[in-house]
Symmetry: C2
Subunit: 214 residues, 2 copies
Amino acid sequence: MPPTPPPEPALADARAPRLTHERIVAGALALIDEEGLAALTMRRLAERLGVQAASLYNHTRSKEKLLDAVANSVMEGVDTSGFDRLPWREALDRWAWSYYDALVAHPNLVPHLAVAFGRLPAALERAAQVFAGLRRAGWTPSRATRVAAAVRYAVYGAALGSFAGGFGDEAAKVPALHDVGQLRAQPARVDRAALRLLIDRFLDGLEAIAPAPE
Amino acid sequence: MPPTPPPEPALADARAPRLTHERIVAGALALIDEEGLAALTMRRLAERLGVQAASLYNHTRSKEKLLDAVANSVMEGVDTSGFDRLPWREALDRWAWSYYDALVAHPNLVPHLAVAFGRLPAALERAAQVFAGLRRAGWTPSRATRVAAAVRYAVYGAALGSFAGGFGDEAAKVPALHDVGQLRAQPARVDRAALRLLIDRFLDGLEAIAPAPE
DNA sequence: GTCTATAGCTGGATAGAC
DNA sequence: GTCTATCCAGCTATAGAC
């Protein structure tokens, strides 16, 4: 006889778990995106998932651990594969923009991502890959550390200090800022253009001190 | 008869105001520096100042306004005077380091500084001065905006994503990161060196596209 | 695994006496 | 201008029934 398949209830099984770790993490991230880091409370998260707050504690030990899991899940979206197959300049460029895309999709989480960096497995794995890639390209250990940190600073700064954060009424008193074309109309475009300038000119400057190719 | 001087009590006058707006702002900043942004509560701030929490409301309208006043006071320490007297490259460099020093002295406040940027008078004034200085040096409006934003990103990123924030135990699993000389021993030095690399190489790269000097 | 109920805090802000 | 007293809201986390 073939093995019996698991029972497939015609209607939703009331005893089936309504919560999983993945659903909780995804719900928390959505809540943070929509209403900010302070809006993430166990009660509000439970409400969004259609359960009571106490039920969350069957899947996550504490709010603090949950928040780190959310941060780690965002970090997993950062792509460092370029360091396995591309010259260092292209690899850095791809990594930077992948990193920026991941952060800017969740701007409210950026401050926590920066603080939690040192205890997120996904972040540390990626940092090690970047460092190893730069070493293979001939950069000295201390240069490799600085180059990777510099790119990381550019990305975090752009994601955090974004013009997309908006201006208050006081900004109207500073006319110079407002006559600058697209700043008001399309702040996200200005942010990307500024980061492109920072990264491209930085990489230009790096070429002048790069290790000789093998 | 000479005008009577104001009465000078031999002992501290119990009726003299013990709180001023300045003392409150300074106390709040010290509390944030010592114990983090979350530690700033009206009760704890009052305790540090030797009064009851309710008394603070005679000098500040709300905690939110107070926090912006604290942020503005930090921004007032940023020096943009170089744009009045130095070539654009030196002016940018001085501004960047003055900005970094102001932020890194209060790392716990950096996320709030970034978010509040657009409504802080001191921040907007300085942004306008930087923009005007770059315009006078011949940069087009959109280039000037991007250059100023790029430097700002570098500074915020370095202050926020600092190695000085430390690593968790998980970092021990990534040996590559630890063999990098001074990273563990003197993280603040590594941070400064990485920011120096980012700014210097970026400015190098900018020279290649700079407007011709008059 | 989810529920109800609640313990045990901590917070911002206000009213009114002095 | 500072005080005491207090309101009311919100939070994390746990205990124990089902």
